[in-house]
Symmetry: C2
Subunit: 293 residues, 2 copies
């Protein structure tokens, strides 16, 4: 089998329409002829098809809330058991951690304003921004993924991924490996000052040559579909390590501020009121007992 390609496929173009899944498969844009997710647990997902098969999918155009696979009766769209963070779902979650783009193909779907009239349309590269679990319309656990259409800047990253990486070749201007885009709002400033840049989990402040560094972490995330508020009662002061762990389900926080997933207890300043509804939201959607080390 050919190597999995993350990014655009040569000799295809965005907006290209294919009559059926077999044609789509031959193009290399989405190899599996039935599965919605093309990917592996170790490499990540290279492409997905969204075509109305999952009742919990939401298509907002440049933002898609995509439902993982599994849990449905054979040949039916009805969900009958919980989905788990395995196979294609695990692959898509890896895209979040690794910053890998995924090709998105839309099939016909009468409920969606963005679906093609017929066939399967390749709609370009999306970033998988976030993953979390939820209770779907049928009452069973589902895993969800927020995808965002790549902009021009992101695409340069995808192109790099396709380049041959020979050991000593000179490097042209590329993105740095990790680029932090930090919003330093009044709120994030005030939470960092309140804790003197010390992480509420490990009590450490990160020292740099231009001062202390910490990150403001939202408990119930901003944006579709969580729509958590950008308010102090929904923000923590964390070091980068615990921020990554918190966002990607490495630990969560119980009602009494004991941590779950790792040892310890959240440190709270007497002037910092945290809304416990947001803690509950995080615990239910981002923490998964089944994925413990």
């Amino acid at each position: 089998m050919a190597d999995r390609v993350f990014g655009h496929i040569d000799e295809t173009y965005e907006g290209q329409v294919f009559s059926n899944r077999l044609e789509l498969s031959y193009s290399g844009i989405h190899r599996p002829t039935q599965a919605g997710i093309s990917g592996s647990q170790n490499e990540g997902a290279d492409s997905i098809v969204i075509s109305g098969g999952y009742e919990d999918d939401e298509d907002h155009g440049d933002t898609i809330v995509y439902t993982g696979h599994g849990g449905r009766e054979d040949g039916s769209t009805k969900q009958v058991v919980d989905q788990e963070l395995v196979r294609g779902n695990k692959a898509l979650a890896l895209n979040v951690l690794k910053g890998l783009p995924v090709r998105v193909i839309r099939g016909t779907d009468k409920k969606s304003n963005y679906a093609p009239q017929e066939g399967y349309r390749y709609d370009g590269l999306f970033i998988v921004e976030e993953y979390w679990k939820d209770i779907g319309k049928s009452g069973f656990n589902i895993w969800r993924f927020r995808l965002r259409k790549q902009n021009q800047n992101d695409i340069s990253i995808a192109n790099i991924l396709k380049e041959d990486q020979s050991e000593y070749k000179s490097t042209k201007r590329v993105e740095t490996t990790v680029q932090r885009i930090v919003r330093d709002t009044e709120l994030s400033k005030s939470i960092k000052l309140l804790y003197n840049y010390k992480c509420q989990v490990c009590d450490q402040a990160i020292e740099t040559s231009s001062g202390l560094y910490a990150e403001a972490a939202h408990i119930k995330p901003l944006g579709i579909p969580h729509n958590g508020p950008d308010t102090l009662n929904n923000i923590l002061c964390l070091c980068p390590n615990h921020h990554v762990m918190f966002d990607y389900g490495g630990f969560s926080i119980l009602d009494d501020y004991d941590l779950i997933g790792i040892e310890g207890r959240l440190k709270i300043h007497s002037k910092h009121y945290i809304n416990k509804e947001f803690l509950k939201y995080h615990l239910h959607h981002f923490y998964d007992e089944k994925n413990r080390f």
Copy 2:
């Protein structure tokens, strides 16, 4: 004095030309009438003027390598002592850590292809991507900053900074506070596998619900003007905390792999050959004994 505004100034536009520094100051785009950097050590820098006053400035259009201030004789462009990471220089370094945009104004400069024919032209918002020290053409230490023109996606962040952040207002779709753009190349994959995702400084791997997480950190950075290579002998496996500290001068690594700035020693796998020239480059350019805690 009015609050410092990070981002576009109302009732001005990109490309607007001002006859002189006084007009520029009245517009609010760059308040100081003489200083090249407008900013404070605690808040960051809101605007800079680039106008050929520093012999070490490099203007590549969308990328600018800007020299900090200080160290020059009064009324001269000649550098006579070392620059330090204080005042305006410290302010610009804070922009890197906080992700704050800076307004860039170009003045006339016969040596630059991007300078206006006359007056001062407002050229929009730039991200301050990186800061480091160097030895300038005159043989004294200078502090340098790589600026990159913001793209459409970045601009949404700047707009958010200008928004009034009232405590309970609902949040529309905004960028997450910290967005990691990770290139998962074959090289970064192999370095993480070699160390089993454990940080070469603290020996810890970050656990998430979809697996272990680590970051590949370049020792001599990629990109203008460092042009470090994307090769295994220039890459470390670090946790996010030590990656931030390493990139922003919190510590460096000596020839014998002892750490400087923090206690400890770099862990090296027997199959991982590191080019010591790159360690020297990092030590000389990113670590500053004067800025210790």
